[in-house]
């Protein structure tokens, strides 16, 4: 007995690409020409005209009035991206809509055409509908840009960027369309086709993002969602939308194009297994539909858990359990109702609801077991090949811009050193272990550091706040030679890129410029001295004071192509290196060249010193050996600033002598040395001074008390509660208003806090005088603090 389930019949062999196929293709185009013309016209309206308008506002012959980069040209990418989510799905549903109606499926499947040919003719028609308008729109936009932007941008750049974008969109549209066809040739009705097409194009990324979201709620865990975006076409589109044309996008798009080509064969295979009697069925139970319902349940559980139910439950495990119990059946039933046109077939699929709940229970289990033990895992030293560190601190300000082809481009600083030495790796492991013991789930206690181990088993990334008690370890880390060499600007400067190097004395006043022929020697000396820095001296400006400054300025433009390359690769812009007294080599060299940096002659040029309250950014711990901030008078002349002015030369001298160029703790005031420079401008240099030191120097000046890091720790928890919303900016006359507010001392007494031990009389006095807390309202003084250390 033979069956006709196989279509491998010798009499069935036919030429695939023949006149019949062409006629089918043309007929399909003809049948659907009207909607596609409407789509094309709309696409051109929303892409070409805005491109023209944008370009029309540019004067291409005046590069200083408007700057634009090549990537900025293609704002139409947002339009293409949004349409890529929607249009291919609609087109696939439209072209295979005949499978959703019994009459039409009878008509088409009774025709003397193989299913392969029937599919391919419609598939290619769909590609024509999608890609032709896209190409036309892109080309017209490129032509507009060429007409409007040259010579601000070269024609080659415009075409390269435009065609590059077009290539990527062509591939992504093809991918989304192909996978949508895969669904369309297996679905029984329009709803199934639309819903499942969207799901198949984004489900993997969606699931991945959900799992990563859950993972990132675990203590210290930082998993990048970036890779998951590459796992589905929708994910790729969402990821590349801001910067379409680059190497990574090109590679990823090519991969998806290859998958789409393979997908075509899958489509044919699936279509040949499509049963005509499936047409117009609602609620057809297939393994695919059940998987979709499970995914919907999973997604709904996540949505409920991260929105509606999230404020109700403090316990994350309980939250995910309740979310699963409610969300899983809800999502399941939503898809069941939509694709089944009701719940008439629910009795067949209801048995999968417990399975959906069970699948969602993976989440609470994951959280309850701390990511199946992931949280507490510290890799063994022998398994670690290197560790990359990302410390969110002032290192970020070492960024620069460079001028390239009509625009300035931002180059981010090299802020992620990679340690490979056993000592460095061990320091990180110790910090890691300390963080696990600290259990600072809310991340309140200290600097935020992220590190990524590179192990033989893969990468492990963790992100923790470190407590004040970890400061010694952090200092030791920052003094690792590997760390210094990968973070300090002087290790990246080369003599060729330096525009000028000036010397300032210990009072920050200019002492002269270094000759160009001495740059190399100076760099060697400085690097040698920096590598001698030790953790005990890094923040101790008493033991190792600042005796001068080296100001490194970078060339902004050059005609030398080799130097241009060096400038582009240089991660840092200008910076100011603090010369410490321990930098013997550097000091000897400077002395040899006639620079007496330790002189205080220029002190008399300081007109006044402004003492300010620390702001949010000032609370950040800075463990750098250099800085690059420059401030102007307009900043400190702001009337809203709480400040104290010193004009007594003796006080100025004492304060400057005790100040440091970089804040050494959270209880530091910014100081601004105000003077008139050689050009007659009023400028300021910024230094920092410990609050305790300032109080001991300026005994006759009423100054506030600043909380230490441990004291900030004590109040951070209340700060994160609702009364944080009532914190407000202090006015000058409120700083010492202990009639309205509790003083710092009163707050400590009321809350039984030991803030009085080890304090100087000046500090204790300041604690009694400084307004701090309004009962029932919040902390006005410390509204600028978000955490002890940034």
């Amino acid at each position: 007995m033979t069956t006709t389930t196989s279509s491998s019949n010798p009499t069935n062999s036919e030429k695939l690409f023949d006149r019949q196929m062409l006629r089918l293709y043309v007929n399909t185009l003809r049948q659907n020409i009207l909607p596609m013309l409407i789509y094309t016209v709309c696409l051109l309206l929303v892409t070409v005209f805005p491109t023209f308008s944008q370009g029309n506002s540019v004067d291409p012959y005046d590069p200083y009035s408007y700057s634009v980069s090549a990537s900025e040209l293609n704002t139409v990418n947002y339009v293409y991206a949004i349409l890529c989510f929607i249009i291919p799905v609609l087109v696939s549903t439209m072209l295979f809509h005949y499978l959703h109606n019994r009459l039409s499926v009878d008509f088409y499947h009774s025709m003397p055409v193989s299913r392969t040919k029937l599919f391919l003719s419609r598939y290619f028609a769909g590609l024509t509908f999608l890609l032709a308008p896209l190409a036309l729109s892109s080309l017209l936009c490129i032509l507009c840009q060429q007409f409007l932007y040259v010579p601000l941008l070269s024609a080659a750049t415009i075409w390269q960027e435009g065609l590059g974008n077009l290539g990527i969109w062509l591939m992504m549209y093809t991918a989304v369309f192909t996978f949508s066809c895969m669904v369309a040739v297996t679905s029984s009705n329009v709803i199934e086709s639309l819903v499942y097409s969207a799901a198949i194009n984004g489900a993997v990324t969606g699931i991945g993002v959900i799992f990563i979201s859950y993972s990132n709620t675990l203590y210290g865990i930082r998993v990048s969602a970036d890779p998951t975006f590459m796992l589905s076409p929708y994910g790729v589109i969402a990821r590349i939308i801001d910067d379409v044309y680059n190497t990574r996008s090109l590679v990823v798009s090519l991969v998806w194009l290859v998958l789409a080509i393979l997908g075509v064969f899958a489509c044919i295979w699936l279509y040949r297994r499509y049963h005509s009697e499936w047409a117009q069925q609602w609620g057809r139970q297939s393994i695919f539909s059940q998987i979709m319902k499970l995914l919907a349940g999973f997604l709904m559980a996540f949505i409920l858990g991260s929105s509606v139910l999230e404020p109700v439950f403090d316990n994350r495990v309980l939250l995910t359990i309740v979310s699963a119990l409610i969300g899983a059946p809800l999502g399941f039933l939503l898809v069941e109702g939509a694709t089944g046109k009701g719940f008439s077939s629910l009795y067949k699929s209801a048995k999968f609801i417990p399975l959906a709940i069970l699948v969602c229970m993976i989440c609470p289990l994951f959280l309850a077991t701390d990511g199946f033990g992931m949280v507490s895992k510290v890799p063994e030293a022998k398994d670690v090949e290197s560790v990359e560190i990302n410390h969110y601190s002032d290192i970020i300000v070492y960024a620069r811009y460079y001028y390239d082809n009509g625009s300035y481009t931002y180059v981010s600083a090299r802020e992620n050193p990679v340690l490979t030495t056993p000592e460095g790796i061990e320091l990180i492991r110790q910090l890691h272990q300390n963080a696990l013991e600290e259990q600072d789930y809310q991340g309140l206690k200290g600097n935020n550091i992220e590190f990524t181990y590179e192990t033989s088993h893969g990468e492990i990334t963790r992100n923790y706040s470190f407590a004040e008690s970890d400061l010694p370890l952090l200092l030791e880390l920052y003094c690792q030679p590997e760390f210094l060499q990968q973070t300090q600007p002087v290790f990246f400067y080369q003599p060729e890129v330096l525009g000028s190097v000036t010397v300032s004395d210990c009072t920050t006043f200019p002492a002269g410029s270094i000759k160009q022929e001495n740059y190399a020697q100076l760099l060697d000396a400085v690097r040698t001295d920096l590598l001698t820095m030790t953790s005990d001296r890094l923040l101790d400006y008493t033991a190792d004071p600042a005796v001068g400054y080296l100001n490194w300025n970078i060339k902004q433009k050059t005609t030398d192509p080799e130097i241009e390359v060096l400038l582009k690769e240089l991660p840092y812009d200008r910076s100011t290196l603090v010369i410490r007294s321990s930098y013997k080599t550097t000091l000897a060299l400077l002395s040899q060249w006639g620079f007496e940096v330790e002189s205080t002659e220029q002190l008399s040029k300081i007109d006044s010193v402004s003492i300010l309250m620390p702001e949010y950014s000032d609370v950040s711990l800075n463990l750098g050996l250099a800085y690059s901030n420059e401030y102007y008078p307009s900043y400190i002349k702001n009337e809203d600033q709480i400040k104290w002015q010193l004009s007594d030369p003796q006080q100025i001298e004492q304060v400057v002598a005790a100040a440091s160029p970089i804040r050494t703790s959270v209880a530091c005031h910014p100081l601004y040395l105000n003077f008139t420079n050689e050009s007659g401008e009023e400028v300021s240099h910024r230094l920092y001074i410990e609050n305790s030191t300032l109080l001991s120097i300026l005994k006759d000046v009423q100054l506030p008390y600043l909380l230490s890091s441990s004291e900030l720790n004590d109040i951070l928890s209340p700060l994160t509660e609702s009364n944080w919303n009532y914190a407000h900016w202090m006015e000058q006359d409120e700083v010492f208003d202990t009639q309205t507010y509790w003083s710092v001392a009163e707050y400590a007494r009321q809350n039984d806090l030991d803030w009085f031990s080890g304090k100087t009389p000046e500090q204790l006095n300041a604690m009694e005088q400084t307004a701090f807390y309004e009962p029932g309202e919040g902390f006005p003084l410390y509204s600028n603090y978000a955490s002890m250390m940034d």
Partner: protein, 300 residues
């Protein structure tokens, strides 16, 4: 020759055709009759290559039909409900068919258009049910198929067009040896057209034979006698299917050769004994009653 062997088609839990084995000769007009849900339309759709058999085989000249585009060039299926292609007209449909069927005859199409009162450019959506059926028949005949499958062929056609269509089909058979399969509940019409009949019930063929042979197998007898013999007396000699009496008159349906039946009854010395052949409808009802599918079981 169309041949099926243990052909089975299931839709979920429902078995539409259950190991159906039959063969249909070339050049005949085959009437497929059966109760509602017997599997007639399913069989036609299997033959048209729309459905795939669950089990068994269905071949035409030993070639399977499903996904056999070369074989399907010779098959044209007209369903009970005609598909309206959005925005389509008879001319646009003709363009599609002409591009797909290698045997398409434009001359035939043009000739048929003249015979039927249909405007070829008129939109299908503006046509009545009967007009759409006429269009389907015109297009189907223009494809010059060897196998014409009609599901409720004449549904919606007016009497004049019915006659015209019947004549066209008959001409086609004569001139080209077309094999026609018609599934219909209009047994009177089938009786006029078909030369072979197959009765489907519950997914199986109850019987299948030439119509004349079928009609020769039954007789409706009107027997008058005084006194009228009891049914048992008749049953001794005859295979009685149904028996009714009214006074001295007995009406019975008997299986067997009418002439032989007449001879047997003459021995009972009736006052009157007349035999008439059963119509197809009467045969259908009779056979259905035999398998328990009769109107007495329908509740009113």
């Amino acid at each position: 020759m169309i041949k099926s062997e243990a052909l089975t088609k299931r839709f979920g839990q429902t078995t539409a055709l259950d190991h159906l084995s039959t063969s249909i000769e070339e050049g005949c007009i085959y009437g497929l009759v059966g109760s509602n849900g017997a599997g007639k339309s399913t069989f036609l759709r299997l033959l048209a290559g729309i459905y795939r058999p669950t089990e068994g085989s269905l071949t035409i000249n030993d070639a399977p039909v499903y996904e056999n585009s070369k074989l399907k060039q010779d098959i044209f299926f007209i369903p009970d409900e005609i598909y309206q292609m959005p925005g389509g007209s008879m001319d646009s449909m003709a363009r599609i068919y002409s591009s797909l069927y290698s045997n398409w005859s434009t001359e035939r199409y043009t000739e048929l258009i003249k015979r039927f009162p249909i405007q070829p450019e008129r939109k299908l959506s503006a046509c009545s049910k009967g007009m759409r059926r006429q269009i389907a028949i015109i297009l189907g005949l223009s494809c010059m198929p060897k196998y014409l499958l009609l599901d409720e062929a004449f549904d919606g056609l007016d009497p004049v067009i019915r006659v015209a269509v019947r004549k066209l089909i008959a001409d086609d058979i004569l001139q080209r040896g077309t094999t026609v399969l018609i599934a219909s509940h209009n047994l009177r019409e089938l009786e006029d057209m078909c030369d072979h009949v197959g009765l489907l019930h519950g997914g199986k063929i109850l019987f299948q034979r030439e119509l004349s042979e079928l009609q020769q197998g039954f007789a409706k007898i009107q027997f008058v006698a005084k006194p009228l013999p009891a049914r048992e007396e008749f049953a001794k000699q005859l295979d009685i299917i149904s028996f009714k009496t009214s006074g001295s008159i007995a009406e019975m349906v008997v299986r067997g050769n009418p002439h032989e039946i007449q001879q047997k009854l003459e021995r009972l010395h009736p006052l009157l004994c007349e035999s008439v052949p059963l119509t197809l409808e009467e045969i259908f009802i009779t056979e259905m009653e035999a398998v328990g599918y009769d109107y007495n079981n329908v509740l009113f």
